[in-house]
Amino acid sequence: MTTSIMIVGVGGQGSLLASKLLGRLLTDEGYDVKVSEVHGMSQRGGSVVTYVRYGDKVYSPVIGEGEADFIVSFEKLEAARWAGCLKEGGTIITNTQQIDPMPVITGAATYPEAVLNELTAKGVQITALDALSLAKEAGSAKAVNIVLMGVLAKSLDIPAETWLAAIENTVAPKFVEMNKKAFALGYGN
C-alpha cells in the first residue's frame, strides 16, 4: 500500500523545504520513501510540483492522473491545475492565496476566481485556508509551507510530536521556533 502526496505551488514558495521535511519524517518512521523534485528553470516563478510517495516498497517516484491521496497546494490556481491527479476519495489541501501568472498579469488570460467551488461542486474534497495569514502570525510569510504541512499532519497517521522533531532536524536552528508555531497553527486550524 503506497500513499501518494503531491506538493504544488509557484517556484520560490518553498516546496523543497516541505518535501524535505516530509521525506525526513517518513524515513524516520521506517517507510520506503521516494520524493521527486523539480530544479532549474521552472523554479523561476513557474508552476512547480513535488511528488512524495511512501509505503512498504515504492517503485515509481512520480504520481500520475487519478493517483494522489493528497494534493497540498501553496496557491489556489495550482490546486486546480493539478486536481486531475487526485484519486477518487482523495483530498486537496490548499492555501487560498492568489498569485497571478504572467498571462493573467498581461491580460492574455483571466484568473478563474471561483475554481475551488467548481471542484467542490464536482465532489472533490477540498480543505481551503488562508495559510499566508497564519504564516505571518507565526512570524514569516515564508512559513506557508509549514502551515500547510500542519494541516496535512491531521490526515496522516503520525503523531504531532514526531513532526515537530522532524522540523527540528530539517530547518536551520534560528527558524525552528517560528516553524513549530507555523505547524501548530496549521494543525489547529
Binding site: 521525506g23 524515513t27 530544479h39 532549474g40 515509481s60 492522473e65 487519478g66 486536481a83 498581461t106 471542484l119
Partner: protein, 581 residues
C-alpha cells in the same frame, strides 16, 4: 546508516567513498548537485572546482587521472557535446587513476534546449556506461565505477536522468575507501595520441570493448528477474524500470539493464528465450531495442512507447491495456504559469530597452532566455552556450549594414566565460561591426547560483581571482567597451543607441548582481498612487511579476517588489511612489 538522498547526492557519496581525489565540472541542470555535494567534503580528501566549461572540466579530470588520482567530471547532456573532443580520445588513452564522467539527461526537457540521449556517446566513443534506477543504485554504481575504470583502463560514463538525479530515495551509506594513488610513469605510446600511437591504441580499444562485453554478462548491475508466468518479458533500464514494476508488479519478467553499454548479449538471448513476448521499454531513443533487433531477436519497443518525453506508471499501464484512473478537473480554463524573470531581475531593464528599440537579439543559455517570453518577447534565437556571440557575427557578415545597426548578441557572464569569449575573438579578428551585450549578474543564475571565473569566489566560496571583463574584451581587440547599470533605463538607451551606431565592434557590460543573491539587499517596495495612475499599462510592458492591474489601475505586490525602480522611470505620470529610488 540509512539516508534519504537525491540521486545526485547519492552519486556524490558513492564517488567520495570510492576514493575520488578531484572533481571538475561546469554546472548544468540536472547534474549540478553532484559537484556541489562533492565540494562539501574536505579539500584534503577531494579537490573540487567549477571549470569555465565542460571541455576544460574533462581535461582537468584527465590530468588528475594521468597523475594517478581518481578523477570525476560532471555535466548535463548538452555539456557532453562540449566535452566530446577529449571524450573520444580519452577512450584511446585510457586512464591511470580511475576516471568517471557523470552525464545527466533531461527527458521531457524540464530545463534544457534539447532531448538528446547520451547513450549514443557511449556507443560512439566505445566506452562503458552505467545507468542507475534510484538513489541506492546511484550510490553503488558511482562507488564501483572507479574500480571498473581502472580494471578495464577506460573512462566510465555514469548516466543519470532528471527523475533519478532529482528524486530522493533511501541509501545505506558506508565509509570512504582508502585508495593508494598510482604512480605517474611517462608512457608516450599510451598518452601521446599522434597517428603512429593512435593506430596502435585503436585495436586496444576494440579488444577492451570485447572484454567489457564479456564482463557485462556477469556484471551485478544487469539483473534478470524471472517473475510472472513467462508470457511477457520486459527489458528496461533506469527510471523506466520503476514505472514497469509500479504498473505491472510481479506479473511480468524483467531484465533490468544497469550497464546499457556494452549490452550483455547472452543474458538478453537467455531472457528472450524464456518469455513468450519480449518488450523493450526505455525513455528517449531505441538504443537497447536497436541492439536487441540487431541480434535477430523480435521485440516490441518504440511502436508502443514514445521516443519523446518521459514515461510514468500510467504510460506503461495504458500500453498493456490496463485501466488507469481519471481525475476531475474544473471547467474553467487554467491559465499556464510559465517561468519568468524575477521581480527586480537586472536583465529586465536591458531587455525592455532592446524590445522598445526593436533590436534583433541573438540570445544565449541562462535565466536571461526568459527575455524571450511575453510581454518582452525580446529574443530572436537561443541555440547553445556561446552561440549568441558567434551567431551575431555570422548574421552581420551576411546582412552587413542592413543588420549591424539593429542587431545584438546577449550573453550572461558565466556563459561568456564558458564559450562566448572565443566568439568575441572571432568578431575582433574577422572584423564584423557587431555589438555584444554581456548581462553580468555576477553569478551563474539558472543552475542555482554557482560561482564562475568572473565572480571573485571559488566553489568553496573562498576568494579567488576575478576575470576583469572590460580588460579581457579590450585585450582581444574590442576598443569600445562600456558598462551600464540596467536599473538605469536612460543609460541603457544611450548605450545601446551609441554602440549600435558605432562603426566598429563593441561590448556593453550590463552589470548588476542577481537579486536572489544573499548579498543583495532589497530596497523598500514601491506603491502606486491610484489618483495618478492613468491606466496606460505602460508599466505592464516590463513583465514584472510584482506589478498587476486591479480595478483598472496598476498595483504593486509589496511581497515581491524589491524596489528596483525601473517601473518608476517608465511611468509618465509619476504614479509609482514610495520606495527609495
Amino acid at each position: 546508516m540509512k539516508k534519504l538522498l537525491i540521486g545526485n547526492e547519492a552519486v556524490a557519496r558513492g564517488l567520495y567513498e570510492g576514493g575520488a581525489d578531484l572533481v571538475s565540472s561546469y554546472p548544468g541542470t540536472p547534474s549540478t548537485e553532484i559537484t556541489e555535494f562533492l565540494a562539501k567534503y574536505d579539500e584534503n580528501e577531494i579537490k573540487s572546482e567549477w571549470a569555465p566549461n565542460e571541455k576544460v572540466a574533462m581535461e582537468v579530470a584527465f590530468g588528475a587521472s594521468l597523475a594517478g588520482g581518481r578523477a570525476v567530471c560532471c555535466m548535463k547532456h548538452v555539456g557532453l557535446n562540449v566535452a566530446a573532443d577529449p571524450l573520444f580520445t580519452l577512450s584511446y588513452t585510457g586512464v591511470n587513476g580511475g576516471l568517471v564522467i557523470c552525464v545527466a539527461d533531461d527527458p521531457a526537457m524540464h530545463s534544457s534546449q534539447n532531448e538528446q540521449d547520451s547513450r549514443h556517446y557511449a556507443i560512439a566513443a566505445k566506452l562503458p556506461m552505467l545507468e542507475p534506477a534510484d538513489s541506492a543504485e546511484s550510490y553503488a554504481f558511482a562507488k564501483a565505477a572507479f574500480e571498473l575504470s581502472e580494471q578495464f583502463d577506460t573512462p566510465v560514463l555514469l548516466r543519470m536522468c532528471t527523475r533519478i538525479a532529482h528524486s530522493q530515495s533511501i541509501v545505506e551509506i558506508g565509509e570512504r575507501m582508502q585508495v593508494e594513488r598510482k604512480p605517474y610513469v611517462k608512457t608516450p605510446e599510451k598518452y601521446i595520441m599522434m597517428p603512429g600511437n593512435a593506430k596502435k591504441r585503436h585495436p586496444v580499444v576494440e579488444a577492451r570493448m570485447q572484454k567489457l562485453a564479456e564482463y557485462a554478462e556477469t556484471c551485478p548491475f544487469n539483473r534478470a528477474e524471472y517473475t510472472g508466468d513467462g508470457k511477457i518479458g520486459i527489458i528496461t533500464s533506469g527510471t523506466s524500470y520503476q514505472y514497469v514494476r509500479e504498473a505491472l508488479g510481479d506479473s511480468v519478467a524483467v531484465l533490468k539493464i544497469g550497464m546499457p553499454h556494452p549490452l550483455p548479449q547472452n543474458l538478453i538471448r537467455t531472457f528472450a528465450s524464456k518469455v513468450e513476448k519480449l518488450y523493450v521499454i526505455e525513455e528517449l531513443d531505441p538504443v537497447i531495442e536497436t541492439a536487441v533487433k540487431a541480434m535477430g531477436i523480435d521485440c516490441v519497443g518504440k511502436e508502443l512507447f514514445s521516443i519523446i518525453g518521459e514515461f510514468s506508471q500510467n504510460t506503461i499501464a495504458a500500453a498493456f491495456g490496463k485501466e488507469t484512473a481519471l481525475g476531475k478537473l474544473p471547467d474553467s480554463a487554467i491559465p499556464p504559469r510559465p517561468p519568468m524573470m524575477c521581480a527586480g531581475c537586472p536583465h529586465r531593464g536591458m531587455y525592455y530597452t532592446l524590445a522598445k528599440k526593436r533590436v534583433t537579439v541573438l540570445g544565449d543559455i541562462g535565466c536571461y532566455t526568459l527575455g524571450a517570453v511575453p510581454p518582452l518577447c525580446a529574443v530572436d534565437s537561443t541555440l547553445c552556450m556561446g552561440a549568441s556571440v558567434s551567431g551575431v557575427h555570422g548574421f552581420n557578415r551576411l546582412l552587413g549594414e542592413n543588420s549591424e545597426g539593429k542587431t545584438v548578441a546577449v550573453i550572461g557572464d558565466s556563459t561568456f566565460m564558458h564559450s562566448g569569449v572565443t566568439g568575441l575573438i572571432n568578431i575582433a579578428y574577422n572584423a564584423s561591426n557587431s555589438t555584444v551585450i554581456i548581462l553580468d549578474n555576477s553569478i551563474t543564475g539558472m543552475t542555482g547560483h554557482q560561482h564562475n571565473p568572473t565572480t571573485g569566489y571559488n566553489i568553496k566560496g573562498d576568494p579567488a581571482l576575478a576575470v576583469d571583463l572590460e580588460s579581457l574584451c579590450r585585450s582581444i581587440g574590442i576598443k569600445r567597451v562600456r558598462v551600464v547599470d540596467p536599473y538605469d533605463l536612460k543609460a541603457c538607451d544611450v548605450a545601446v543607441t551609441e554602440e549600435l551606431a558605432a562603426d566598429e565592434p563593441s561590448v556593453i557590460i550590463s552589470r548588476r548582481p542577481c537579486v536572489l543573491l544573499k548579498t543583495v539587499k532589497a530596497k523598500p517596495a514601491l506603491e502606486v498612487d491610484p489618483d495618478k495612475c492613468r491606466s496606460c499599462r505602460r508599466c505592464m510592458t516590463l513583465g514584472c511579476p510584482a506589478i498587476s492591474f486591479k480595478g483598472g489601475k496598476a498595483v504593486v505586490d509589496a511581497t515581491l517588489c524589491v524596489g528596483c525602480g525601473v517601473c518608476k522611470q517608465l511611468c509618465a505620470f509619476d504614479a509609482f511612489v514610495g520606495g527609495n529610488v
